[in-house]
């Protein structure tokens, strides 16, 4: 198997890898995203660059992925979703990504268009994530597009997929992951999860179905009480553990802003360091840290479990 990216190299070498997340928004200068990418350098091997998260119409993730790599040297995991593009547009963007030196792509079905700020737009879904994975593999392995037309030049991409250990019934999710692996997925990143026992259950079920794919488990550190509360109440299917929520709720009463920040950082580290230590004992290939707007947690977190 050919290796095109640092992410895949690290995974193949058996290192416990960390990936980060960058969320470019409705903007044209990418100032904050570039700054965040700079801050994460050296702590994560690559960063996901989100593609219209929650179906908000933001700057192109392809352009953002390129500029992040170009300006900061941070390797991008280019997220590409099926909500907004048909198979032809997906092909064009993937070819463009190759030309721009992007080497990792996360093939996503994508949130429904009705969830975001373009709710009246047409949801496309010409392909789904499994079919997109299948198409990318054809491009990479055979040098042809979906319909067998020859591509001039190498297609050098690693394809990742999403998985959700919170899903109930879990077996439905495991079988879906099996299908993505069958289609040729090379790594998976999971939805945010706080329950390490559920993570273990997820791996156990993967094992029982003979599914082999490196999995990076997703975590979401909680920058403030507001973020924690929003996350707990509005991110469907994900619940912040009660004890963690209680501690963060208490910390919000600290009047000194700096002290409050330090306290919340400490609470997060108290929760996530043991979580990561436990995670390292599972089959997890790594951890995907979704700390958008909270890059300062990544150095102490990753250093603690080196």
């Amino acid at each position: 198997m050919r290796i095109f990216s640092n992410l895949m190299k690290e995974i193949k070498e058996g290192h416990f890898v960390f990936t980060g997340e960058l969320e470019p928004e409705k903007e044209t200068d990418l100032h904050n995203t570039i700054k965040a990418a700079e801050e994460l350098k050296g702590y994560v091997v690559a960063c996901n660059v989100t593609d219209n998260p929650n179906s908000m119409a933001y700057i192109s993730s392809l352009v953002a992925s390129y500029l992040i790599q170009e300006r900061t040297g941070m390797e991008a995991i280019y997220q590409l979703r099926c909500t907004d593009r048909n198979a032809a547009a997906l092909t064009s963007d993937l070819l463009g990504a190759c030309a721009l030196g992007i080497r990792n792509v996360l093939a996503l079905t994508g949130d429904h268009i009705g969830l975001g700020d373009y709710a009246k737009a047409k949801p496309v879904y010409d392909l789904d994530s499994a079919q997109l994975t299948y198409m990318i593999r054809k491009m990479v392995d055979e040098g042809v597009d979906l319909y067998g037309n020859k591509i001039h030049g190498d297609v050098r991409l690693h394809v990742g997929v999403a998985a959700n250990p919170n899903c109930e019934p879990l077996e439905a999710e495991i079988l879906k992951l099996a299908r993505k692996v069958e289609a040729g997925a090379e790594f998976a990143q999971t939805q945010v999860i706080y329950d390490i026992e559920r993570v273990k259950e997820f791996f156990e079920m993967m094992r029982s179905y003979g599914i082999k794919i490196p999995v990076l488990v997703g975590i979401f550190p909680l920058k403030s009480y507001g973020v924690a509360k929003f996350f707990d109440e509005h991110i469907a299917g994900v619940h912040v553990p009660e004890e963690l929520m209680e501690r963060i709720t208490k910390a919000k009463d600290e009047p000194d802003k700096q002290k409050r920040k330090e306290k919340i950082l400490e609470i997060n580290l108290d929760f996530f360091i043991p979580f990561l230590k436990e995670l390292k004992r599972t089959e997890a290939a790594g951890c995907h840290i979704m700390a958008v707007g909270y890059p300062e947690i990544i150095p102490p977190l990753t250093e603690a479990v080196k």
Binding site: A87, D128, S129, A130, Q131, A162, N164, A236
Partner: protein, 220 residues
């Protein structure tokens, strides 16, 4: 059945206002809720009164025929009743509007309905549910009677997306059950998870791209 929803009366009045003689035509076909003779009569009265309120006195007649989607049927049943009608307002689904426009090219035909979907009726809960999108390549043989094209908000072919929570779909705020979770449950019950986990390749979208025709049994 074809499920329709009546258009707002002001929209209907806007359509027919320029004409002095209007024929309202019901359809005794599959349109639901029923849009037959009784509904056509009520519509004729409403249009007549509505236009009167707008200061116009018009002649509004009503009738009804079986299945406006059948051109032969329309010709035989409706042609003798057209008389001097200047405009037709049909109670049928949009197919009826198209059929009557084809058959009577010299008379403008207007819809009284918005055609919403093909579905089933649950009388107990007064609910109509979309069941089919006429994709041209029926998958129901692999999905135990639940159409993922019609019942999944993303029309996915390869299982649930990451969206369902407790088996409910992310679209429309978790008020609908995820079609793929339902398919999973049925597949499991029938011991046919092989069908659930099957990798389905991209569809040939030409099968569902309009305008479609079936000519001598061949889809064109």
């Amino acid at each position: 059945m074809i499920v329709t929803k009546e258009k707002p009366i002001d929209e209907i009045l806007e359509y027919v206002e320029p004409y002095g003689k209007i024929l309202v035509v019901g359809c005794e076909g599959c349109t639901h809720p029923p849009r037959g003779l009784r509904e056509a009569r009520n519509m004729a009265m409403t249009v007549s009164m509505g236009l009167k309120l707008r200061g116009k006195s018009v002649e509004v007649r009503s009738t009804s025929i079986a299945k406006q989607c059948d051109l032969y049927n329309c010709k035989v049943a409706l042609e003798p009743q057209i008389g001097d009608a200047e405009a037709i307002l049909t109670m049928a689904c949009s197919i009826g509007v198209g059929a009557l426009s084809t058959l009577f090219p010299d008379i403008p035909v207007f819809p009284a309905q918005n055609t919403v979907f093909m579905g089933v009726e649950d009388r107990e809960s007064d609910t109509f549910k979309e069941m089919c999108r006429a994709c041209g390549d029926c998958l129901l043989g692999e999905t135990f009677g639940i159409c993922p094209i019609a019942r999944c908000a993303k029309s996915l072919l390869n299982g649930p997306c990451g969206g369902p929570v407790d088996g409910m779909c992310e679209y429309k705020e978790y008020t609908n059950k995820c079609a793929w979770i339902e398919i999973y449950e049925r597949a499991k019950k029938f011991n046919r998870l092989d069908l659930f986990k099957k990798l389905r390749l991209p569809r040939d979208r030409r099968l569902e791209t309009p305008p479609r025709m079936l000519v001598g049994g061949e889809l064109k």
